[in-house]
């Protein structure tokens, strides 16, 4: 590569880094100014000792974990079945999993409220509806992550090998398939968790405790604490992505030998 080309590459990379990190740096510095005239972690201390933070963040963690569990129980068998028995439906299912990108969250939540606020499906007050909504929102990430994981193993041959040894469907799914796509499931799970933590509309309109509505409320009431919470959110997201990278680099999935 010529020197001129090298310099331009550096220029654009530094510009991109500054574009991303400068606002973050500004937010972080702002969050350190809670105590007058001194840079301190007072705002962070106030956040972590606020019972409302623990309450709302704790609930978001619970919704996140439940969303991951429901997502695994629905999307793993679905993707497995599509890949093994119904490949002709793959395109249609992939289209459906992309709908959350197309349908605005506000439209989605109004549909949920309208449908489930009257008999026979009167569950609008139930946390189950919120978790179901989150599961739908995480669908593009969880389904695609699982599908990608299934693509990296020979699903059909592994299934038939297990069947020839006497295994039923449950054993095949939980002892053969799931362990071999755990990295893919983990990446889908963390993406789903990040979605849940940052999601505002569903929790606000279904009137359930959650981190994002709490943050939205705090922005109207306080100055430095919202900045601290924004930095905490970024830190958590990067931590999850780091864990995905670390676990994925471990080579948990070995390749099956042999060719066709």
């Amino acid at each position: 590569m010529r020197r001129g080309g090298n310099a331009w590459s550096w220029f654009w990379m530094i510009l991109g880094i500054l574009y991303f990190f400068l606002p973050l740096l500004a937010t972080f510095l702002f969050s350190l100014r809670a105590r007058l005239g001194v840079l301190s972690f007072q705002a962070y201390q106030d956040v972590f000792t606020d019972p409302d933070f623990i309450y709302n963040f704790g609930y978001s963690v619970v919704w996140g974990v439940l969303t991951i569990i429901v997502g695994i129980l629905i999307f793993v068998p679905t993707a497995y079945l599509i890949r093994l028995r119904l490949p002709r439906f793959r395109a249609s299912v992939e289209f459906i999993t992309l709908l959350p990108f197309v349908i605005p969250a506000i439209v989605f939540v109004f549909g949920l409220v309208r449908t489930f606020s009257q008999p026979p499906f009167l569950i609008v007050d139930s946390p189950a509806l919120l978790v179901a909504g989150y599961t739908v929102l995480s669908m593009p990430y969880m389904y695609r992550a699982v599908d990608t994981g299934l693509r990296s193993i020979d699903v059909r041959t592994l299934t038939e090998a297990a069947q020839s040894l006497g295994a039923g469907w449950g054993t095949i799914l939980f002892r053969v398939i799931l362990p071999n796509i755990r990295v893919a499931i983990l990446s889908g799970a963390f993406l789903s968790f990040a979605i849940v933590i940052g999601e505002l509309i569903l929790a606000q309109y279904l009137v359930k405790p959650a981190f994002a509505p709490y943050l939205a409320y705090l922005i109207q009431q306080r100055a430095y604490e919202p900045a601290a919470m924004a930095v905490i959110s970024f830190a958590l997201t990067w931590a999850f992505l780091g864990i995905i990278q670390f676990v994925g680099r471990g080579g948990a999935q070995a390749q099956i030998g042999g060719g066709r």
Partner: protein, 353 residues
């Protein structure tokens, strides 16, 4: 006594007939190979025995029990796949013990059986290794041990050596055969490699286009092919058309020269065209030893194949191959020279179609 019976087995996908009227009885402890080109239906037939495909018609019977409609996990049939299909998340010992765990055998029984199997495949030190730490040949031996650990009624092998290099294939196929003999287990082996099938089988089923072309021992299949396809698929073969001169005397005319067969012309008419086949190794130069048939020809090409020297000769408009053993003192004619080749009447095979 018949251990595995495939009766009137057919498999259609819509109008596409993949397997057509397949009938075979396999004795207990017999090693039978399904041999044929890609798409001939051999793997589909194997999969119907395993239960991964359901026959459109016909029955699969093992030990007098009809298992045609049984699910694969209820048949107690062991299977070894081309792609090994070892479970990557389990160690070698866990892979081998998997079927026994499904059956809820006690840990002691599982441990003992796994130890036996590891000794059988000579991988005693590899029990704690994972599949990706093994070579291809080792992985396939583990796959074999896993299939045998459950003491299956029938062992099915679907081109298990195709993914391995040539030397490993030769050694491993002998090992598979030795293990099968030692355990006395009935085995069905699918391959497109004729050398593999010929070297390890008790009987071979040659298939083409979904149908059985011939069933016989390796000796019968190779030396007495009953159809043009079997003759051309198994071993190298010279096939051509000849004209019947006298069916009672078993004489033919080939490119203006007389040819004598041992049999096969019963029911033919004089002047009728028939397909004949002669193996290259059944020819020799007439200068060495004259046999029933002596043919004038021209040497067109000579190819060294290691232990074999293949001589291509022209006989009128036909090309024939003659194989002779290589040795440092072999005297070969010049390319372009006239020569005579000879073969016995028994070497001339009259093909049915």
């Amino acid at each position: 006594m018949t251990h595995l019976a495939l009766t009137n087995i057919s498999k259609n996908y819509g109008d596409n007939i993949v397997v057509d009227d397949f009938n075979l009885d396999v004795m207990k402890g017999e090693f039978v190979s399904f041999l044929g080109p890609s798409g001939c239906g051999k793997t589909t037939t194997l999969r119907m025995i395993a239960g991964f495909e359901i026959p459109t018609t016909g029955q699969v019977i093992i030990d007098d029990a009809d298992i045609t409609q049984k699910a694969p996990n209820q048949r107690n049939v062991g299977m070894v796949f081309q792609a090994y299909a070892l479970f990557p998340n389990m160690t070698v010992a866990q892979n081998i013990g998997f079927g026994l765990q499904i059956r809820r055998e006690s840990p002691d029984v599982i441990k003992q059986r796994v130890t036996e199997m590891l000794a059988l495949i000579h991988l005693e030190q590899k029990g704690d290794s994972y599949p990706n730490q093994l070579s291809g040949g080792q992985q396939q031996r583990v796959a074999l041990a896993r299939a045998l650990a459950n003491r299956p009624q029938v062992l099915l092998l679907d081109e298990p050596l195709s993914a391995l290099d040539a030397k490993i294939r030769v050694s491993l196929r002998a090992e598979i055969r030795a293990i099968q003999k030692k355990l006395g287990i009935t085995a069905i082996y699918v391959t497109h490699d004729q050398e593999e099938a010929l070297s390890i089988s008790d009987r071979i089923v040659v298939m083409y286009d979904g149908r059985i072309e011939q069933v016989g021992t390796p000796f019968e299949i190779y030396n007495f092919p009953s159809t043009a396809f079997v003759a051309s698929f198994v071993g190298t073969l010279n096939t051509t058309e000849a004209e019947v001169v006298d069916p009672k005397a078993q004489t033919l005319r080939l490119e203006g020269q007389q040819l004598q067969a041992a049999d096969g012309l019963e029911g033919r008419r004089a002047g009728e065209k028939v397909r004949i086949a002669i193996r290259p190794e059944r020819f020799n130069f007439a200068s060495d030893e004259r046999k029933d048939n002596v043919l004038d020809c021209t040497v067109e090409n000579i190819t060294f194949l290691g232990s074999i020297v293949r001589v291509q000769v022209g006989l009128g408009s036909q090309k024939f191959y003659m194989d002779t053993f290589n040795n440092p003192f072999l005297e070969l004619p010049e390319i372009g020279s006239k020569t005579q080749i000879t073969c016995s009447r028994e070497a001339v095979l009259v093909l049915s179609h």
